[in-house]
Symmetry: C2
Subunit: 424 residues, 2 copies
């Protein structure tokens, strides 16, 4: 019955900095070999390097209007009082938008400004200036110009820019592969018949979706029971297959928690135990140059841990930093007591009352997945603070844009207040 | 050479309202038959109705800690001065986090608070209160509780909530299928050898990515040349196959612009010509109860048109409204002249100068796709306005979050200023 009862209690910023430095020194944060893919499939992928135009766009001088191409010099002096007649082919040709301007012509007159006395003649009432209504070659893109920088996330318009520059395939960073390894003898697949003690293994579904949102590829491993040799075998094969290994549960100091011993045996355990709540039993390590994170089993802890430690790795391996988290100021609706020495993360609902935004803490149980389903944002209580007083102003990290949150507050808010009384 | 030279000039809000009302009356905005899919594949899909829990979570009373389960009544009076000894099985059983609390027990004492005088005995120094460190059945989710409302976009944590409630498959709105029909004899596929007059057909790549971002499924049709019968045949088959038809180019009044005649022949043309710049020749119609949009050929016009007219349809067909567009106040860097009678959309770069955010208009050519590649946001010049003066305060609709924009302003900004001189 002897147990390794306690863990470290490393401050979050120190744990994160140490881990990232360690990974960086191990080369575990660099992008893999770029992939070459068709531009049209590149939405949301990240350029592996700058992309330069192969051709100009337009690649010829093009009519910008439906009308007639003319030589501007031949229109000099035309006016309403002295209209000028021009002969087809010799003095003008009909052009549609996008048509090339033929040699010996240098301007376009809009169709609305032209009269047709007969089928071979037009009459104009104004001079054309050279290159009017002409899209000059390279107006949009000049050959060899940089269309997109490296490490750039591709949006719809970028696809157009790259194709217009004559490029059909581009090199993008490989999407990091993240092996998700659920462990625990008590776990059963969703949909199984349940007996007391069975825990539905739903974390992997959540974690896989998070990996996808950040640009990674989740590789779902089957549930591994709490058996040292089986876990070891699975971890080794997962590390072969993936760029990052995530072990879910088995990270506290309970009697069947082998994760930390196995990471130490197979690689380096950098940190075991971070001064955060929830998420304290987090393990950070490296096996064969691959980042390995041991994530606690409770869903709220697991989600938080992913966000704090896995997200920056996935982004960096794609040449990016995680995007800044949108925040809002809000007023805490009630006193919030939090332990000294741990940085606590509290999920909140937001609502507008008059001019103010009110943040109401919701269930703080690490096992309450519904707190994450309902939350609009999250606030941090620093390690050195014992909490907030009612009506204190705080910074809330938003889970979704504030406009969206406030738009749906009435309906979802009232539902939640009722449920929260029970859930907390 | 006779031409139907001009179009309507309907104000945007009127065109949009008319079109949406018409579509609504035709039943063209309702969602299709819902799909049933595995929860784990439901990220970013929209629930077709509320989702209720089938079971409670936890579905039994569970230990919230590693420790020992006891009957609280048997611990009454235990203290540091009078420790209480308890016998295994009879008075306590060892439990790990998540284990069921056996019958006849009602509390858990944390392992850290227990001494082991021998293998069959523990000693405690404090009373346990009933249900301490126990996660009661239904603490997270109560059977029959609503986990998610209908018309809700599924985020990672939601997947956990639904699975925890014993649900493995859910009904979601079908993703609207959008047929994208590029038309024009001058168009060539990206990657083709080019001769003057050939236009690389890159719009479909952009439009397909936009459709995907909004939750739709793009169906790419091949380029159709400007031939009335061919266009008619393709439009009819596209309308059979898809929920929405988008015809790109052929929407102005040029000599080969058959789109409007064909929409009138095959269905109803609701609007031809909207008082916007760019995007004036937009066509809005319905064929066989399906929305049909004729989008101008210039890329900037096409993108704007998609955003104004297609986006609300795709969202509504999934039971949603488009999310609110994030905005920021900014100061226009230079005088901006805009025609009366047209609502103009001007792409801008943003930068911070001291406390202020400065919006610099970039190229306004409807053919300049790079203006969309470079833009951070867009401002609207109302129909009744002739533009803005330098240093006037304006509302900018953001293409990406302001924090992200300002983070990268220095690098991309300077690149852009150099390029803009040429491009505008």
């Amino acid at each position: 019955m002897k147990r390794d009862v306690y863990l470290n209690n490393q401050p979050l910023e120190e744990a994160l900095e140490n881990f990232m430095r360690f990974l960086s020194e191990e080369g575990a944060l660099t992008a893999g070999t770029p992939e070459t893919i068709p531009v049209e499939e590149a939405l949301d992928r990240i350029t592996a390097g700058p992309i330069y135009a192969r051709i100009s766009s337009p690649h010829y001088n093009a009519s910008a209007m439906d009308g007639v191409a003319v030589l501007a010099a031949k229109t000099t002096g035309a006016s309403e009082t002295s209209p000028r007649q021009l002969k087809v082919d010799q003095d003008f040709v009909v052009v549609d938008t996008g048509d090339p301007i033929p040699p010996d012509f240098d301007a376009v007159i809009m169709i609305e400004d032209v009269n047709y006395p007969d089928n071979e003649t037009i009459e104009i009432m104004a001079e054309a200036s050279p290159w009017q209504h002409v899209r000059l070659m390279g107006e949009d893109i000049v050959a060899a110009e940089m269309i997109l920088p490296g490490n750039h996330k591709i949006k719809p318009a970028d696809i157009g820019g790259v194709l217009a520059g004559g490029i059909t395939e581009i090199a993008v960073h490989a999407r990091p592969k993240v092996a998700l390894m659920p462990t625990g003898t008590e776990l059963v697949q969703p949909g199984s018949e349940l007996k007391p003690g069975d825990i539905i293994e739903y974390n992997t579904g959540v974690l896989a979706a998070m990996v996808r949102q950040w640009g990674g590829i989740p590789i779902r491993r089957e549930i591994t029971v709490d058996d040292y040799d089986l876990l070891k075998k699975t971890m080794l094969s997962a590390v072969e297959e993936a760029d990052i290994l995530l072990i879910n549960a088995g990270s506290s100091a309970g009697r069947e928690d082998f994760t930390s011993s196995l990471i130490s045996e197979l690689g380096v355990m950098v940190t075991h135990g971070v001064a955060i709540k929830p998420g304290k039993p987090t393990i950070l390590g490296v096996i064969k140059g691959k980042p390995v994170i041991g994530v606690p089993g409770y869903p709220v802890s697991a989600i938080l841990c992913m966000d704090l430690f896995l997200k920056p790795i996935i982004y960096r391996k794609q040449g990016l930093l995680p995007p800044p988290v949108a925040k809002t100021e809000a007023i805490v609706s009630r006193k919030l007591v939090s332990p000294l020495g741990l940085e606590e993360f509290v999920q909140v609902k937001l609502g507008r009352v008059g001019e103010k935004i009110i943040a109401t803490p919701i269930s703080r149980g690490a096992g309450v997945i519904m707190s994450m389903v309902r939350a609009d944002g999250m606030l941090r209580v620093p390690r050195t603070s014992e909490g907030f007083n009612a009506a204190e102003t705080v910074q809330v990290e938003l889970h979704r844009p504030l406009d969206e949150v406030l738009e749906t507050t009435v309906v979802i808010g009232s539902h939640d207040i009722a449920m929260d009384v029970r859930g907390d």
